[in-house]
């Protein structure tokens, strides 16, 4: 059993949340100040999915602080998981799948680190991990489900079953996962942290409720009035958000629905580095893209501006 009581203990998780200020006040800050809220050893849950709406700006700022002993969880883990492992920031990943996508093959870093015993890899089914976040978002220690029953995945985290008191059937009691921190990137927010997402929502709304501390970047900071004009588009309540940073292209070169497309060519260059030099390829990449640029603007400047404009044009075409 690798799940720890801290992950599913809803009473302790609630008391942590009760102590947090939930005031409708200014949440705007810098990437640096936001990232400083993550402590060594924290469980950090990452929003978006695979190469979509990944909070890359927050991950960039976090890795620059050279954190240690983190556990990262995400529904489908992309290369941010490789970064954290190779950077020595994380020693445990919790996810249902790791890679980038079909054209790039398996994650060689995942293989190499898991097979050599340097990385703990806790695997759940995609829905089970989603239900872990949702149980936490609902403030309960588990949710019943049929998924994962009968599979070897039941043993990985230490899943237990529960008997339905009405029907007598046995269900998977999917344990809650209350992360210490959630990192999210959304389309727009007001300065109080009320956040709106366009397109597929992934699991971000659940993450914002499940975590004790919520760090969020937004493509756009809009007025209070603008949020109030479309309150039915708000999916993250301001009182859940601890730090908000305005970061256009905050998940680039991953995609942001309707704003910019992903850059598969960049993924290929990244993966080629690993194919050629293994983990050293990641180290080189981190040096160039994470540690060298002193600001997020410097980071973005490493990408071709015409490519960014083109990614934006593709996104508009794909969503209209």
């Amino acid at each position: 059993m690798t799940i720890a009581p801290k992950e599913f203990d809803f009473q302790v998780a609630r008391l942590r949340l009760e102590r947090k200020a939930k005031s409708a006040s200014e949440k705007l800050t810098t990437l640096e100040a936001a990232a400083a809220r993550v402590n060594d050893g924290d469980h950090v849950a990452i929003g978006g999915c695979l190469y979509s709406r990944t909070p890359l700006a927050l991950i960039w700022a976090l890795l620059r602080r050279r954190p240690r002993g983190l556990t990262l969880s995400r529904n489908l883990m992309s290369y941010e998981g490789e970064w954290a492992v190779v950077a020595g920031a994380a020693d445990k990943l919790v996810t249902s799948w790791m890679g980038i996508g079909l054209p790039w093959g398996l994650s060689r870093i995942q293989r190499e680190y898991v097979e050599s015993g340097r990385l703990e890899f806790e695997e759940w089914s995609h829905l089970a991990l989603g239900l872990r976040y949702r149980a936490a978002a609902m403030g309960v220690p588990f949710l019943p489900s049929l998924t994962m029953l009968g599979s070897s995945l039941m043993d990985v985290g230490g899943s237990k079953t529960v008997e339905c008191p009405y029907t007598g059937e046995t269900l998977h009691a999917v344990p809650a996962l209350f992360p210490d921190v959630a990192l999210l990137h959304v389309h727009r927010a007001d300065r109080f942290g009320n956040g709106q997402i366009d397109g597929y929502p992934h699991m971000d709304a659940d993450l914002a409720r499940a975590a004790t501390t919520v760090l969020m970047t937004a493509e756009e900071i809009v007025s209070d009035d603008e949020i109030r004009r479309h309150p039915d588009r708000t999916v993250i309540p301001g009182f859940a958000v601890d730090a908000l940073v305005h970061v256009p292209y905050g998940s680039y070169p991953h995609e942001c629905y309707g704003r910019y497309d992903a850059e598969p060519a960049h993924f290929t260059v990244y993966v080629d580095g690993i194919k050629e030099r293994g983990a050293a390829g990641v180290t080189d990449y981190l040096e160039r893209y994470v540690y060298a640029p002193r600001t997020h603007a410097d980071y973005l400047a490493l990408f071709d501006e015409a490519a960014r404009r083109d990614a934006a044009a593709r996104a508009r075409m794909l969503t209209t």
Partner: protein, 253 residues
């Protein structure tokens, strides 16, 4: 026309989809199969993608490489999100699901996690993703895969996605009250599961393939149906549609 392995899988997968059903499909061959079925005999079929995307249209020549991106959501009807998409399957709304498989055993159990012990495996594979959920929650599941001996082994060491477990009623006894693998379509033929033992059974061969070819490429004894059939080869119309959808042959090979 001659066709590639993936074209064969997409065509045979498409033909197995009835009109008016709902299909949980991922990228690659399952997407091609579903999109083809919609454009031939199943115009009122509804597709769900793992990214929480319902009823997408696809832009020919610009198909998605992941189920969580704009190409997968192009002109979709609804974007319920990942967890809620799977919960619709748990409720019983999804008739057929597709999964792939790195390693499949004679009971349709699939391993996409580890070769060797879990904690310190010989080979670490990418993991379940939504495959475990699809095989656990959809009404029935179809597997599309290239037929290679290393993929079809007598038992999988790790059951990422449960087929019929150890056969008989063991799946149901494990608490999986619904669904199961109804069909495996490979590059050599089509399989179902013998109703009692729940062992894989060859029901049809693709043209030009012999039972011995199948046995030679399978790591366990192949059951053969009493009324073994031969599939009709892909038609020009089917292949034309696939090639119209994927002119750069990213997915059909």
């Amino acid at each position: 026309m001659t066709c590639t392995a993936n074209e064969l899988l997409a065509v045979m997968g498409a033909r197995a989809l009835r009109d008016g059903i709902t299909v949980f499909a991922g990228v690659g061959a399952p997407l091609m199969a579903t999109a083809l079925a919609q454009r031939t005999h199943a115009p009122t079929l509804t597709m769900m993608m793992e990214g929480g995307i319902l009823g997408p249209s696809f832009k020919p020549g610009d198909l998605p490489i992941s189920t969580n991106e704009m190409r997968a959501a192009y002109h979709a009807q609804m974007l319920p999100g990942i967890s809620d998409a799977f919960l619709l399957a748990q409720r019983g709304f999804l008739d057929v699901g597709f999964i792939g498989g790195a390693q499949i055993d004679q009971y349709g159990n699939v391993n996409t996690s580890v070769i060797g012990g879990y904690d310190r495996p010989k080979v670490r594979l990418p993991g379940s993703g939504g495959a475990n959920d699809i095989i656990s929650l959809c009404r029935e599941v179809m597997i599309l895969t290239v037929h290679e001996k290393r993929r079809f082994s007598e038992r999988v060491e790790f059951v990422t996605s449960p087929g019929y477990l150890s056969g008989g009623d063991s799946r149901r006894k494990s608490g999986l009250l619904f669904g199961g693998v109804s069909r495996i379509v490979t590059t050599l033929g089509v399989f179902d599961f013998e109703p009692e033992s729940r062992r894989m059974r060859l029901t049809a061969l693709h043209p030009g393939i012999a039972v011995a070819d199948v046995q030679a490429n399978t790591g366990f004894e192949v059951l053969v149906s009493a009324d073994l059939a031969t599939t009709e080869p892909p038609t020009d119309k089917e292949l034309d549609i696939l090639r119209m959808l994927d002119p750069k042959r990213q997915f059909i090979g």
